[in-house]
Amino acid sequence: MVCERKQCASGDRTEVGGVVTQQPPKSKTCKRSGCLHRIKYVQKNKEKDSGNMEGAPAKGVLSHLSLLEVKARSRKTQLQQQSRVMELKAKVEALKTQREQLKAQIQTHQDLQKLRLAMDKQCADEEEENMEEESENSKLLRLMARHTQLKDLLHAHHLIGGYDIIKTRKGKGACVSIATAYEDVFLDTFNLEIDLKPTVKISRHNIPPFIPLNNLAEQNNMQTDLRVFLDTLSKHLNAFAGRKQQLKLVKEKHKSVEVMESNVLCSLLVLLFTVPREKTAVLCTLDYTDHTRCLPTRVHLESEDKQLPDSPQWKKNCTLLMETPVHKALITMKKMGSIA
């Protein structure tokens, strides 16, 4: 746009060869400072119709060119629209196939669930499985159902505090984790790494040396019957953890009872009781010769007062110590007034 004020030398020549662009200028005041002349929006050589080509002056050719430009632009957008349409169509196809896949997955899952229910019911009822002629698909389905059943069984075993077993080294080894618990409290976890090929052999473990691991492996034929070996080992470890916990509780909760002797395996416990009033000392020996149990196999009482171990009260205490875990037995004995 040219500022029309003759005195203005701003030279704001936005006109392009006399042809004015469609858009009116944003500001209608001449930018040159001092000149406040409002620029008139002069539409020089307004666009004529497209038809007018021949004999048009220079300005007409240019306007025609601009017309062609506009046309070309609109064609491009048309093309873009077309390719966009194809893109979207392709996407629709992809989404349709995905939907089909998901539908198939849901169907398999539902079939699997039905099959699992049937299998679980069969296991519960202990019926004979009827193996009719099955197609490849249903065989596969049955196998998958059995796999999920076994996985759930292993998980349940883990939850009740049994042992876990996982594959290591691509099937050549296994790692067993045996959890121990006593009175609903989880205690230490012990681990064994076993080589499965070429022979079944223990390669690494963190089981303390007073648990006769190698003896148990031999006696229970670890090579042929791994489960029996693991069950026996689990019994030994759980019993040890239980006895150890009992000793800990006796030391914590019964400070009036002195622990005279114990050992790392917790298979022997000698306690010193004090009888209230008379202040006689009673020495109590608890032998846990069965290492798979948390209760003693023998209770022996000794006292300065020779009559005491034969008294009915102390005979009852003896039975109590044979049948109840020691920390609980001591509570009862204190209540009955046998010991301080």
């Binding site: 876990d164 681990n191 963190n206 089981i207 040396p209 050992n263 298979s267």
Partner: protein, 340 residues
């Protein structure tokens, strides 16, 4: 006063640091309250020795009592001196039910039978360890209390730890130990170190071992330093993998402090570019020794940082796995075949 008593007491007062002298003397409980109060622990060691000698003469204490004091000090500071581990082999049927009084009696009687003049002191520590102090004499001379041997054993485990034993005394002690623990033989476990607690923890598996597991404990979250989110470690995956393998081989957390590992090679020389060496018939003898303030920690770090290749070579991982730090490697089998 008896010269031995004097010398023993002098040596002991020199050895015990001043800050621990008071507690050790209190534990000894051979001094009366007034005597204990009269000792000024800020005096020089020489002055303290004179004072204690006077008190001991007053109480008519013999060398046996001083030996007691020494034993208390050694039990409180088991990480001094050099300890060697031995393993009892082939337990008899009643090995698992050996209890303390039986062991004490048997050991004393067997050792006294084997050697006329010997002074034995046995004490049970709170952590179930049985400590034995032996002062050796012979047919003609009285027991030498200045060079005692210390033995540590946990009943129901096959391990015995010895300190300061000469080769002449070894067969006598071995015989006494084997008979009193109801095993059939004893052999060198090829594990030695300055810290008794370290070699004990290694053999009794009292350090944190890492095993592959499906259910990692959620409470074992390590407090990871929250690093800058804009910094990404390029090889984080392989670094984590190396760290896992290093921990599986050596353990996690604080490791038992071993000071050295010795590999004695008796293999044929195998470098084909050196004909003179390969042509020899005799095996190539070479001893490789790794020394460190904390050997297992150094080995674990070298594996996790990539200095040692992972998976960790059995030569290195045998140290914690077999609980040995002396290996003899021959050509017979793959990996270390310790024959000694």
């Amino acid at each position: 006063m008896d010269n031995t008593v004097k010398r023993l007491l002098e040596r002991l007062v020199r050895r015990i640091p001043s800050r621990m002298l008071k507690t050790t003397l209190d534990k000894w409980s051979r001094l009366t309250a007034t005597q204990r109060q009269s000792i000024d622990y800020t005096e020089s060691k020489w002055a303290l020795t004179e004072k204690l000698l006077a008190i001991c003469e007053e109480n008519e204490l013999t060398v046996k009592h001083i030996a007691e004091l020494e034993m208390i000090h050694v039990i409180e500071n088991p990480n001094l001196g050099m300890w060697h581990a031995f393993q009892l082999m082939d337990p008899q049927d009643d090995a698992h039910s050996v209890e303390l009084t039986q062991f004490k009696e048997q050991f004393k009687s067997h050792l006294s039978e084997l050697i006329r003049h010997v002074s034995i002191k046995i004490k049970k520590h709170t952590d179930e360890a049985v400590w034995i102090r032996i002062a050796w004499g012979d047919t003609f001379s009285r027991p030498n209390h200045l060079k005692p041997t210390y033995v540590v054993h946990y009943l129901q485990t096959p391990y015995v730890f010895l300190s300061s034993l000469t080769s002449k005394q070894k067969p006598l002690l071995s015989q006494a130990l084997v008979l009193s623990t109801r095993y059939q033989a004893i052999k060198d476990a090829n594990l030695s170190g300055r810290k008794l607690t370290a070699i004990r923890d290694l053999l009794m598996k009292q350090y944190l071992q890492v095993f592959p597991t499906k259910f990692p404990s959620p409470l074992a979250e390590r407090n990871r330093v929250v690093s800058n989110l804009h910094i990404e470690k390029e090889q984080a995956g392989s670094a984590a993998n190396r760290h896992q393998m290093a921990c599986e081989a050596f353990g996690d957390g604080l490791l038992p402090q071993l000071q050295s590992a010795v590999y004695k090679l008796e293999t044929k020389f195998r470098d084909h570019t050196n004909k003179t060496m390969t042509e020899r018939d005799e095996p190539f003898r070479c001893v490789v020794k790794f020394a460190s303030t904390n050997l297992l920690e150094s080995l674990r770090h070298s594996a996790s940082s990539g200095v040692a290749s992972t998976p960790v070579t059995p030569l290195l991982s045998s140290v914690p796995l077999k609980g040995k730090n002396y290996f003899v490697i021959t050509d017979n089998g793959p990996g270390p075949s310790s024959q000694k």
